[in-house]
């Protein structure tokens, strides 16, 4: 299946070629954009195919499925793959338009996208880890690429804390293999259902901590605020909009599809931890007066919602988790991409992101939030509904407070030096494209809601009780 392998091949070849070239040259940047755009195009077509015809498969090397590594793209993987690559295209466009200062940036971004595309496509637990490692190491390198002392400091923290998370993940995979005797996800899911309670829950907890660290969930988030606030806006957009999807996808895949019993068992714990994250992120964000710092803490809060949706469970809860994750990734990418741009048009673009994060229509974020409330209402979990309400209220406070501070207050009264002058066309185009997607999904929510529903169905089918 060319659609499954195509994006990976394109990205791999492009990455190797770019590694040899000087990324500061505009032509090289354009090449990188083209490569990721082609991969995104293929993944978008693949998404359409998956939604129409069901999961698409390919076994590497043409071996039987139980021998080779099986790539298996279902609705969940296809949604996240297209989402992440699309966001990388926009971010890379802005990075190239702004001017790349590090020669390795385009190659690293392409490798990062390769890692993401691979881990969303694979149906093999270990291969997931390998692609995951590729994405993470590219991310570490990316933070260090621009090379100011402060950024390298943030990159160091990011790398060390996440390596601890990756290590826990590797332990989890080893245990899972030891306990089930297979690496193929469908078979693992079957065998995992027969594990003893203690073994299974310990594996589940290792995965939870690993993905919680990737997501930046409280209390595993301490690497996140400095990194998001110091990285350049396009890189921050890639981290918050694409890389963080590993966490959401990982929780859905490993929790929802592979270890559903353990997920159900820990529903209360998930909702509690999610709530703490929501409250913590939101309250931290309220007092900040630097847009990107607000966004960093808001990210911590918003991943809590994904956890709450997982805790609510069932097709509706999983669908909400997917729809919200998609909307959240778009929102964060949009806000980071427009956070440092000035000018009237970019103020409007930024406003779209602000409305979407607050869950105000007509934006994708509104339907993401509505899906969460729907999951809470259908589960008749009124505590959760109340929590979502309070969390939402707090996010209204910080997001509009920072908007007014950053865009309305006279420049001399701001607590932070904000950039002068209007943004360039390419910079605006990048943010504008994401804003357009957010608006279109707000005006025509069918793709978002259907993607959530179908992805949730893929999870339920994968666990074999659908």
């Amino acid at each position: 299946m060319i659609l499954v392998a195509g994006p990976l091949l394109v990205l791999w070849v492009a990455g190797l070629a770019l590694a040899a070239l000087d990324g500061r040259r505009r032509g090289v940047g354009v090449l990188a954009i083209a490569a990721v755009a082609v991969a995104f195009g293929l993944q978008a077509v693949l998404l359409g195919r998956v939604l129409a015809d069901g999961p698409q498969e390919l076994v590497a090397g043409g071996w039987a499925a139980d021998v080779g590594i099986r790539l298996r793209v279902d609705a969940l993987g296809a949604v996240f793959a297209a989402l992440s690559s699309g966001i990388v295209v926009a971010a890379l466009l802005q990075a190239v338009a702004t001017g790349v200062r590090s020669r390795s940036l385009p190659a690293l971004v392409v490798f990062l996208t390769l890692g993401l595309s691979g881990l969303f496509a694979t149906g093999d637990v270990f291969s997931f880890y390998v692609f995951f490692e590729l994405a993470m190491i590219a991310a570490y390198a990316l933070t260090a690429a621009s090379g100011t002392a402060r950024e390298v400091g943030a990159a160091f923290l990011f790398a060390i804390v996440n390596l601890v998370g990756s290590f826990l993940f590797l332990i989890g995979i080893a245990l899972l293999y030891r306990a089930t005797g297979t690496l193929e996800m469908v078979a693992v899911a079957e065998a995992a259902g027969r594990l003893e309670a203690t073994t299974a829950i310990l594996i589940a907890i290792s995965f939870f901590v690993a993905f919680g660290t990737k997501l930046g969930l409280f209390p595993f988030h301490f690497w996140l605020p400095t990194l998001y606030a110091t990285a350049s806006p396009p890189v921050a957009a890639i981290f918050a909009g694409a890389l963080a999807n590993i966490g959401a996808y990982g929780l859905l895949r490993f929790g929802g599809a592979i270890l559903p019993n353990e997920l159900a068992l820990s529903a209360t714990a998930l909702i509690v931890i999610g709530s703490v994250s929501i409250a913590y992120g939101a309250i931290q964000a309220i007092g900040r007066r630097d847009t990107r710092e607000v966004l960093a803490y808001s990210s911590i809060g918003h991943v809590g919602y994904i956890l709450v949706a997982l805790g609510l469970g069932g097709p509706v809860g999983l669908a909400a988790a997917v729809a919200f994750s998609v909307a959240n990734a778009l929102n964060k990418a949009l806000l980071f991409l427009s956070s440092e741009l000035r000018g009237r048009l970019t103020a409007a673009i930024f406003l779209v992101g602000v409305l979407s994060v607050a869950g105000v229509p007509p934006t994708a974020g509104f339907f993401g939030k509505a899906a969460l409330f729907d999951a809470g209402v259908r589960a008749e979990s009124w505590w959760t509904v109340a929590l979502l309400f309070v969390g939402g209220a707090l996010s209204f406070v910080y997001v509009f407070q920072i908007y007014q501070h950053d865009r309305w207050r006279p420049r001399e009264q701001r607590e932070r030096a904000t950039p002068l002058g209007s943004a360039g066309v390419g910079q605006r185009l990048a943010a504008g494209l994401v804003a357009l997607v957010v608006l279109v999904l707000g005006l025509w929510p069918q793709p978002l809601l259907a993607a959530g529903r179908d992805a949730a169905e893929a999870i339920v089918v994968a666990r074999g009780d659908g």
Binding site: A60, G61, W63, D66, V67, S102, R103, S104, L108, L114, S127, V130, E133, L134, A138, A141, A144, A145, G147, T148, A149, V152, I160, V161, V164, L168, I171, L175, R178, A179, G181, T182, L183, E196, I201, L202, I203, V209, P219, F222, I283, Q284, I286, G287, R288, A358, G359, V360, P361, F366, F373, D374, V377, F396, R409, P410, P445, L449, A450, G452
Partner: protein, 743 residues
Amino acid sequence: MSASAIAAVAVAAVAFVATWAAWAAGGFAVDVPWAPAWDLRLSLELDGLGLLYALLAAGVGVLVFAYASAYVPRHLAHEGRPRREEARLHGAMALFLVSMLGLVLARDLVLLFVFWDLTAIASWLLIGFDRANRSARLSALMALLVTTITAVLLLVAILVLRAEYGTTQIDELIAVARPGWAVALAGALIAAAALAKSAQAPLHFWLPRAMAAPTPVSAYLHSAAMVAAGVFLVSRAHPLLALEPALLDGLLAIGLLSIAVGGLLALWATDLKRLLAYSTVSQYGYVVVMLGVGGAAGAAGACLYVLAHALAKSALFMTAGAVTEATGRRELPRLGGLARRMPLLAAGSGAAVATLAALPLTLGFFKDELFFHAAAERGTWLAVAAVASAALTLAYLGRFWGGVFLGRSDAEVRPVPRRLVWPVVALGTLVVAGGIAPGPFAALAEDGAAVTAGGPAPVDVAYHLDGRTENVMALAAWLAGALLLVARPRLQGALSALARAGEAVGPERVYTASLAGLNALSNRIHDVEVRDLRARIAAVLVPASALIALGVVLTPTGGTYAVGPVELEDLPLVLVLAVGALAALATTRPRRHLRLALALSAVGFSLAVVYALLGGADIALVAVLVETLFALLFVGVFSLIPARELRREARRRSTGRTRARNLVIAATSGVVTTLVAWGAFSRPIPDDPAAERYLALADDAHGKDVVTVILADFRGLDTLVEITVVLVAAIAVATLLHGRFRA
């Protein structure tokens, strides 16, 4: 007029004519699928209720936008701002109008919600139009937070109804809904959202603040948009609310409270716009009371009241703006005697005041007749309250008009553009025409009321010169109102005390204190955020350990933690493991970096021996290679770091508390990791069917040994990606070494 102003007026005019034409042509309906995944439909339909509100939004819009086209350039000039900012205001006004139209036409509740929030966004942009002004920013934020946070309640209500009845179409819901918890809950949430939007007590405080907006914005926001949206929603959803009588009683109570709070504060206020803002709170209280009374009488009264109020209130705000433009003043005590200087404005606003105060020969007379009728139908106590309310209204409106246009003052009166006056005159003429020939207005209200009442709701308007209850109540109200107006100076102390009490402990105080408290709390938490690397790693390990411990405690561990037999032939293994454990303990001791690195290597080498003893010769070789490389790497890195730095680091002594903390972190992590590993390894190894297959297929892959075939072929993809990982790591290292760290 600027192009943007002309465009805004044109939008409003087209909307007005189109609405009228669509109604005359027998209505208008669109219904297409929107999001089938949720069964949402883009359904818009013009009915009597929608017609009333749409005509108000568009009609008042035409006049207010025309007024704004003259007002805003002057306003900007006063503030020394460029004229082009005008476009922003007209654009947001047009958005306001369009979202109101969408709101009143929407038949899908989710679609309605979209427009509901859009009105809030438009009003936020408008209230915060004077961005440089701190009070405008705070007022905009307040209006936005109060109305959008409560809007979420409406969203929850919609989802509750959808979960219960499987639809979001309002007509279908009204057809199938039955009394029960779902309707009670959803109805209460809808009412809460609507009442906050209509600035009803106790969530009324944002509206007086919203007067920070330029006057045309206030004129629109208080009459036909935003605040009207709240009572519109209650009217639209009334058949649902009426299923639970307690909800209607709640409306009645909140309406009466708002009449009293708004009325008394309007009687106290001296700022023109503030007085009018409180009067809006009070007057929408009337509408809410009538919706609370319900039935045909309540619905009829509510619709006619909204109509008359919108016309009059927009005229009064525009009056206040024109007066302030002419005199530069906005405080009642500093104004007076303008009737001679601005006779047209005095006449137009006089008609508007008369209609709000329900004097005969104005449209407003009938709105109070219907109000008295509805109240008297409900009971004597409400009739008394209604008379008191009407008296209060008469008193503060008399004070407003008299204070501006009668008496005398030293104010200098500058001429104002005609466009600041004629919209007021047009509205004044309209309400007087309504008082003489109420037929068309009554018909409009009747069509609207039929939707709210869910059946015919006749709006009977005529002058009856007899002693019927309504007439007696009206006479009593006028008399009491006149007395109140005369007695007002003596009440000033009591009114000020009320206002001060509201400022000290009222809902606005709760709002500002919560906002300040949240910001303070945020700063306090931010100050204690973990900042050093060690604590950040501990922040992953310790919670992970806690979760794992929780998992072990909460699940049955039957047989998981069994200790197997130890045979004599295991002795070498046990010895090597003991050496490894000792080496691991030893890593906690050294202070010199080189010793630490060597101790770490010792752990790794002893594990390599363990692999060898367990028969994994190839793994043992790899482990030896890795350990050797790492030992060399450490030595190489240490040689790059200045010796002085290394010595300084080595001499650092940690405090007893830090050491204890580190000990606890290390011990818990170690114990918990052991639990995890033990939990997994104490199970029998499951059959790995793949192993058999690998061996069988090794020849097909042209490989001599199975490990090579697995790495290079069966799982060649993993190997390829791992090689890429190494490449990326090399790029990273090269980048770091190449880039001189810029400070």
